[in-house]
Symmetry: D3
Subunit: 162 residues, 6 copies
């Protein structure tokens, strides 16, 4: 089987999307953070000292999703029409799901993945003090299973009417 040509190690470029049509884009993704069961209890009871973990982490996710083109150098700046972040507190982990929509020339899965990542990291930041052991280490805390659930695109047949 022929090998693909080796590219120069100095190559880096953003895809040119100028000739792609605008389409209705949607992406849904999710991820998890494994926490100590005592931390999970605190989140469920609303007794985390830093405050309302769920609202703060949803907001961190939404805000980060809008910064995707600033965080990932080859992403195009997009006008997102929706970022929804949902958080489910399970027995030994917290699951974050995000859905992003836009009418653009390129897909929005990176925006959904950035939203999830920021929400998960914000959960970690807010419960840090409960997750550290006596030596200041994190024996349990792990972010895992970040994946795209579904990605869709479709051409809009007629322009929207007022």
């Amino acid at each position: 089987m022929p090998q693909p040509p080796k590219r120069d190690s100095t190559t880096i470029h953003m895809i040119d999307v100028s000739e792609k049509p605008q389409m209705d884009r949607m992406a849904r993704a999710s991820g998890e953070i494994v926490l100590k069961s005592t931390t999970i209890e605190k989140i469920k009871q609303g007794s985390v000292e830093k405050g309302n973990v769920i609202v703060a982490s949803k907001l961190a996710g939404i805000a980060a999703g809008k910064k995707t083109a600033d965080l990932l150098p080859l992403c195009h700046p997009l006008r997102l029409s929706k970022i929804e972040v949902q958080i489910a507190v399970k027995d030994d982990l917290v699951e974050v799901t995000a859905e992003v929509k836009a009418t653009e020339k390129t897909g929005v899965e990176m925006e959904a993945l950035v939203a999830i990542s920021a929400a998960l990291l914000n959960i970690w930041d807010m419960v840090k003090m409960y997750e550290k052991d006596a030596d200041g280490q994190y024996p349990t805390t792990t972010i895992q299973n970040i994946h795209v659930i579904k990605k869709e695109k479709k051409l809009r047949e007629a322009p929207l009417e007022a």
Copy 2:
């Protein structure tokens, strides 16, 4: 066992670190992205169309680490003295490790975790086209095992000399 007091659902606050001493802080963290073996091959051969995945993803990680206080609303702005991102291409996944240092009143593990997350997301963004199946979905791609390897702090005994 007494339950912890339920906090008001409107609570949210940044920890006040004004009375904490400045210490030398270090945090090392890592995470992985699972990719198709054909994608791994392309990264190893340097034949990814978008270009040099390793350098671009290290840079995305370093740049994001410096934006931690912008991404995580309760994090304090810190002057980092070092962010190092390493990337190891394994058989069926790519492993990203980050080490962050600062002389500050608060730890730098969130900065290391943000750096890793952004580097992993940037790898995803650069190999998207190889990971999607015929239906435009991502059956394989997963970010996993993001954890803190080591966190250290120590008081500096004497000021640095020129």
Copy 3:
């Protein structure tokens, strides 16, 4: 009268505007900063030590208006076609007015309000030294009367021609 249903305290979401039509949007808003009459004199005479208060504050307003989606987590990123900031120095206060335009799916009043707020805060920042009393306090300085003057939207009947 039936009470509205109590929403879960963990709810937070951005409005989904994907099905809304693009319309020509305009918003005009204004606000005031009350200053000591001696400070007002300095602004009028152009003798503020930090420099040209009017131009700097207009620019701070324009620049901030473009950052609305970064400052307000539930705002959609918009492509603004105009931000105009006007500043009128009155007898005991300075009045700032902003007009913002865009052809978008959602209104631009938050952009106008952010522009005004930043311009007013920048005026404060530039005349701080004249407003503080001997004890370093601000007995006079107050930002007030920030309101939307007018908000308009209309559907464009025909596409723009070259």
Copy 4:
């Protein structure tokens, strides 16, 4: 009385703080947003459709406070050790108070004022739909009374110990 010298209209400059000592700085400021009583009811009942107004607006305030040097061009970048935002829902208005601390060469009142302004603007953004009249205008909504409550500075006598 001699008039102050007229400065050139091209003057603009940031104060040079290099020779100022680092001091413990604190500033407390507050402001208000006047809303319709039906909107106030919705906030009290937690039935605002966009979600938890209080937590979201506190977070918007904290996040914006950290961006002060980005919003106000002549402000110095500071390492803040605390931003606390409190929100009190009164009968016909919502009051926002912020307290900021830092050990820096310059005061932190602008950071407190930016935090308040962003929190107030975020409240507006979240209750927009209840404040607009049939014509899409805002007859009631007004941001007012933004002022500095207290500003303090003191030299730290001994370095902090671990």
Copy 5:
């Protein structure tokens, strides 16, 4: 010949582009950084201690191009469909070229010029240690010849199809 009217020194405004049609825009620009021949050698050999200068500087250029509206206060926020940065290592200088595309109401030459400037500054930052003389000064390093090569606009005759 009549003199143009003198504008008030307090004037500053963003051009209102609301009535301009969207057109396909392209701008190509370039610039150079003069370096010591020993530094040029290191770049060619890939032995710069900070790493891969070419990829890092291309990325810095792409990322900065997307921040144009944040850096230049009177620029409109645009959705860029492409930023391509090329770098040619010549005998005593490095030449950077950028091409930017967008379908927008206003041209993209400032985006191309910002991309070039950031790429050139990043080259400087990465080879600083080789350019400084024994006294810590830069006798050779100069950025020069930043200019627009070509600017184009054309109205798209038919909407893009899927």
Copy 6:
């Protein structure tokens, strides 16, 4: 003469400054933009339609200088104590000079160079309409001669007193 070892093309790293002492840093740099003489006239007469070019470009420079660590991925975030931008309108060009100060572990020349670059680009942006020829091209406009005038560092012998 032995050749320096070829580094791996995947290397990229930020210098670790944790063991460097804090010193008083200063850097002064300058650059020029060549403009048509009719444009220079307009700047001198204050008749540029977009407004006060000098103040706006100084501010753009100051604001950009504070964003250096965001624009150049390997730069450390610094607390600047001063950024001064001066602009001199000459016969056929405009000269921009910037001076930056900080007490930090690393030099501030990149901050001065970023400030100059942004100020020069902002001048370009504000006089674009006068520089373009009938074909929309820029036959004259060029940014040139960006260089560091002077760089200094010295250890502070005693801490600053109040």
